[in-house]
Amino acid sequence: MRFSGWRVLKEGLTGNKGWAPHWRNPEPKPEYDVVIIGGGGHGLATAYYLAKEHGITNIAVLEKGYLGGGNVGRNTTIVRANYYLPGNSEFYSHSLKLWEGLEQDLNYNAMMSQRGVMMIYHNDGQRDAMVRRGNAIINQGDDAELLDVEGVRKRAPFLNFDNNRFPIMGGLLHRRGGTARHDAVAWGFARGADMRGVDLIQNCEVTGIDIDNGKVRGVQTTRGVIRAKKVALAAAGRSGQVAALAGLRLPIESHVLQAFVSEGLKPVLNHVIAFAENHLYISQSDKGGLVFGSYLDFYSSYAARGNLPMVEHTMESCLAMVPALGKARLLRSWGGIMDMTPDGSPIIDQSGIEGLYLNCGWCYGGFKAIPGSGDAYAHLIATDRPHGAATKFKLDRFRSGHGLMDEEGSGAQHNLH
């Protein structure tokens, strides 16, 4: 079933009776070429690109819950390529280019909206860091513009420009950044993978990984044994536990990151705005709700909920930066579980066990990475060589200390990311 304007019109006139399910719900087969553990954004994108770019279609994606029920349905939907360090820079640049063609590629409306990401600075040091970052973004082939305070005021007149502690001095505008509809991204990739023959198997939890003589043979699941030539982890938040099934210990702690949505409002916020102070980021969804978040809670957690001190901090930051929102009511908040690595950057690599691959450690930024991660991971699984845009996402960097990507400059230590 292809989507088109004509089809929408026709269904609208005939009671919308012609729509079919977007993917099959197959029984697991006894054996696959590739089994992907995790049916979130990264797992589904990996299956899609394996089928599309590498012609491997005998694939199962195993999801313990339902598709799109994990972190891909639990984030602040921001898409951007304004990274600074080599390794991250080329990867997120690649990912943003894939985002830009994603809806046409998938024939699916992911509500990709390049409304611009504006990073606000409040002092000279932050301005210098923004200039440097902006130059890095331009050097990687993407867009960045330094705005002075009037440039920011023109775009977002309701911000608190005269905050005593954190006056706004200007911002770095990344026009190609924006937001996308998180669920639709998962559904689009799921449908695209299914159409190419990939089996999407829900309610199927992996309980064991079979390894024989240092080579992976398949997985044990709640729906029986599934043999596989290659097994690929994509279980964000639970990567440590899934890797433990294969006897691996990863440089990962799982932490909770909270996000918030206000009641639906008329359009007030035209960009994604991130404040350097207090690390607040905020945007307005197409439905009208303000979507915002701040820091991690910074302690290990597998509870998909946070704690009140960070709620208070986030609300304080929000009101300090955007006082006009003081009367908006908060509709809900939620917490997602992140794989936190010591340097805050991801891992796409071989595991050391033949046929077992790792895609983990996306920390606080997995959503924007989905197409790039899927493409790069598929390349690694199909060819056993890293994709050109993801050569630095090595597992070994923590042991050797070479090529750490500490984007925040806070130090490569677990409790700092």
Partner: protein, 89 residues
């Protein structure tokens, strides 16, 4: 979340700084692998976990907090100085 400081009693989470898993420190001349394991690798269990918390806005003690990371329940606390995490000296 409230943490029972052995010196000060039960206090708000905001008085504390969290360091992460409470791990026995390897000897200074331990192998690279042992140090890599200590600094980077984690068991990351979904259940009980011993962590180091620092009573930053209180008595300044390092505390070994045993916490259930699924329910956030604090199960026990003890002074870290008694937990023998210092490694071979």
């Amino acid at each position: 979340m409230r943490i029972n400081c052995p010196n000060c009693g039960e206090r708000d989470r905001r008085e504390f700084y969290v360091k992460g898993a409470a791990l026995a420190r390897p000897a200074a001349d331990a192998t690279l692998e042992a140090w890599h394991d200590h600094v980077n690798l984690r068991d990351n269990p979904a259940g009980e976990l011993h962590e180091l918390w620092y009573h930053e806005m209180g008595c300044g003690a390092w505390i070994d907090v045993c916490r259930n990371v699924v329910s956030h329940a604090v199960l026990s606390t003890a002074l870290a100085s008694a937990a023998d995490l210092g490694g071979a000296r």
